[in-house]
């Protein structure tokens, strides 16, 4: 078929190849830890402006130049986040790798952990060295029992090879990495809830400000929290240089990202693409094998269960920069949306955690939303009244509608509740996360909801 989109595997380059194993020897044979060794050996270098940059400063500069955005869901630029850390503070600086991977539809971090754990460890080593960190944690969700074992084994191998612990590779740098298991609570993925959990408390998120982790994180110390995939990308930024990395993807959203496609497609899977260089249609049809025979597309949830749903047939206005710099507007259909933050934002949704869930015409919008609402009702930490009560009400109303006991006012009630949870009324972004699906499903599939709540004739 002409113009079939191809993956652009950088992070996933080796990991599904025959014979590639998760042990240190295999990783090393594929060039593993060479980037970290080079980072550790960086000599102070002068900039054109006459400044002298230490090795760690050079790494941080490359990450800033790369424009790499976090892959955990919020998409915050990694280099900017790192710049909030006060490196001159006399307190320890911590690094936490967020391996909680609990956003429904997301399954990329697990693949990296299972099949290429040393790549993640190398990313952590580089990020830690760049930011004067001597203690790092990998917060891994409790259900990843095998993943935690694999990481522990890989860390032991790295320690045995002098890549971890005291005086790493004889260069005077110390780092410990501790694998910490969660215990089944989604809210531990939220970075401040995660930190509370790591301190041995209930994972109640902290309010921002003042508790931005980079400023006041673990034990009130500066703390960098980055997703598994982000830390792997850091390794490649360090290997390629920030400017080279930034040539991949699109301006404002550089690099590659691993997109998880699941739901009603023929070949669900994870695909690493250059950001913005594949459309939703190419992801769904070329990479994920398209819909099941005889089915037509109904809707796409483009960035994890909290992303607003997009309905087949919708048209969006996208802005493009022409080569001469002028901006032009173009209309795009759902499947023509390039997979990048700006395009998804223009469509009123987001790339979030990079998880696409596809619904075909056999799916019920009410059932799909009820499923998502049950997730949020179960996972709210309960700290804020609007979120705790609102997520539960929405779940109960949707269950009632599914049992055909809905009332005509239920559709309006859902809208009103979903409207009253977010917008600064809650401690964390879970408030938004649980409202957006309800808002968007009810707005776009209102007819299905109303049909199911209509009084019997």
């Amino acid at each position: 078929m002409p113009n079939m989109i191809q993956e652009r595997r950088i992070i996933l380059e080796h990991l599904d190849r025959a014979g590639y194993t998760p042990d240190l020897g295999c990783y090393r044979r594929h060039g593993g830890y060479a980037t970290f060794e080079r980072c550790l050996a960086l000599e102070p270098a002068a900039t054109p402006e006459g400044q002298t940059l230490s090795g760690p400063e050079q790494i941080r500069l490359e990450v800033r130049r790369s424009g790499l955005r976090g892959r955990g869901g919020a998409g915050f630029p990694c280099g900017v986040k790192w710049s909030f850390v006060n490196l001159d503070s006399d307190r320890p600086i911590y690094l936490i790798c967020n391996a909680d991977e609990s956003e429904p539809g997301t399954f990329k971090d697990r693949q990296i952990i299972h099949k290429d754990p040393h790549q993640l460890i190398e990313g952590i080593l580089i990020a830690a060295y760049a930011n004067r960190v001597h203690q790092a944690f990998i917060y891994i969700r409790g259900e990843f029992i095998e993943g935690a074992r694999i990481l522990d084994r890989a860390l032991d191998e790295a320690r045995g090879a002098g890549l971890l612990g005291r005086d790493i590779l004889g260069r005077g740098y110390d780092l410990e990495i501790c694998v910490h298991r969660g215990a089944g609570a989604y809210i531990c993925g939220e970075e401040t809830g995660l930190i509370e959990s790591l301190e041995g408390r209930r994972p109640y998120p902290r309010i921002k400000p003042p508790y931005y982790p980079a400023v006041l994180g673990l034990y009130q110390c500066p703390t960098i929290v980055n997703n598994v995939e982000t830390l792997c990308a850091v390794k490649h930024v360090a290997a390629m240089g920030g400017n080279e990395y930034a040539k991949l993807g699109v301006p404002g959203d550089p690099g590659t990202r691993i997109v998880c496609v699941s739901g009603q497609v023929r070949r669900p899977g994870y695909f690493e693409i250059e950001i913005g260089k594949a459309t939703l249609g190419q992801l769904i049809h070329d990479l994920a094998g398209g819909l099941h025979p005889g089915r037509s597309l109904k809707a796409v949830i483009p960035g994890g269960s909290s992303a607003k749903v997009l309905r087949a047939g919708e048209k969006y206005k996208l802005k493009f920069a022409r080569p001469d710099g002028k901006e032009i507007e173009r209309e795009a259909a759902l499947l023509d949306l390039p997979y990048d933050s700006a395009s998804l934002a223009a469509a009123g949704s987001m790339c979030g955690s990079g998880a696409i869930v596809v619904l075909d015409d056999s799916a019920s919008a009410v059932e799909a939303l009820a499923n998502i609402a049950e997730f949020y009702a179960h996972e709210s930490c309960g700290q804020c009244t609007p979120c705790r009560e609102g997520s539960l009400w929405m779940h109960k109303i949707l269950q009632r509608i599914l049992r055909r006991q809905g009332r005509p006012a239920d559709v309006d009630n859902l809208e009103r509740i979903a409207h009253n949870i977010p917008g600064g009324r809650t401690v964390c972004a879970f408030g938004e996360a649980c409202s957006w699906p309800v808002q968007s499903f009810v707005a776009k599939f209102g007819d299905e909801f109303r049909q199911m709540t209509a009084p019997p004739p």
Binding site: F107, G200, G263, P268, S305
Partner: protein, 181 residues
């Protein structure tokens, strides 16, 4: 703080083998403050005893340098922790969207049906003979191989009804002393 288990009166009837004692101490030493190791210690205790008894919670509290209440509030918050022994074979079926679209709720209903449990109940249910526990859990991060489930620590992908039937049969015919994991 780090006194032996006799520090708490109820902990007397709890038998902590030296290997577990050592594993807990080693875990705690990895954290800047002992309390940080709370989840790891609770996992170790639950893995050993199958659930978290009041005695285990008190023992953990003494180790972590906190009040038993501060450990209890973790045991009750995190879905993976249990305060009652589960069945010998513990099925956890993913109920979230991609798995539901692939038929996971029907698998759950089938299991419940075969075992005489309530298919409409999503939380953990244990058969009267204490052999099986069945519950629905949230997205297990393997949505591309939906539907997925755990039977004890065995992860089963693209699960089919026939496979679920076979698993029940295998569990039923497992010799009594095996732990089934």
């Amino acid at each position: 703080m780090n006194t032996p288990s006799s520090a708490s009166p109820a902990a007397g009837c709890l038998r902590i083998p030296p290997a577990l004692e050592a594993a807990v101490a080693e875990r705690i030493a990895r954290y800047p403050q002992p309390r940080g190791a709370a989840l790891m210690v609770l996992h170790a205790l639950q893995d050993h005893f199958g659930f978290l008894s009041n005695e285990a919670i008190e023992w953990a509290a003494a180790r972590l340098g906190v009040q038993p209440m501060q450990v209890l509030e973790l045991a009750t918050f995190y879905p993976m922790f249990r305060q009652e022994p589960p069945g010998r074979f513990h099925f956890k079926i993913c109920r979230t969207l991609s798995c539901a679209l692939a038929g996971s709720l029907a698998l759950h209903a089938r299991l419940c049906d075969r075992l005489g449990l309530d298919p409409a109940s999503h939380g953990p249910q244990t058969t009267a003979d204490g052999r099986f526990t069945v519950e629905l859990v949230e997205c297990l991060a393997s949505c591309h191989t939906a539907p997925v489930l755990f039977c004890n620590q065995t992860f089963c992908e693209k699960a089919t009804p026939e496979q679920v039937d076979r698993m029940i049969e295998e569990c039923r015919s497992a010799p009594p002393e095996a732990d089934g994991s």
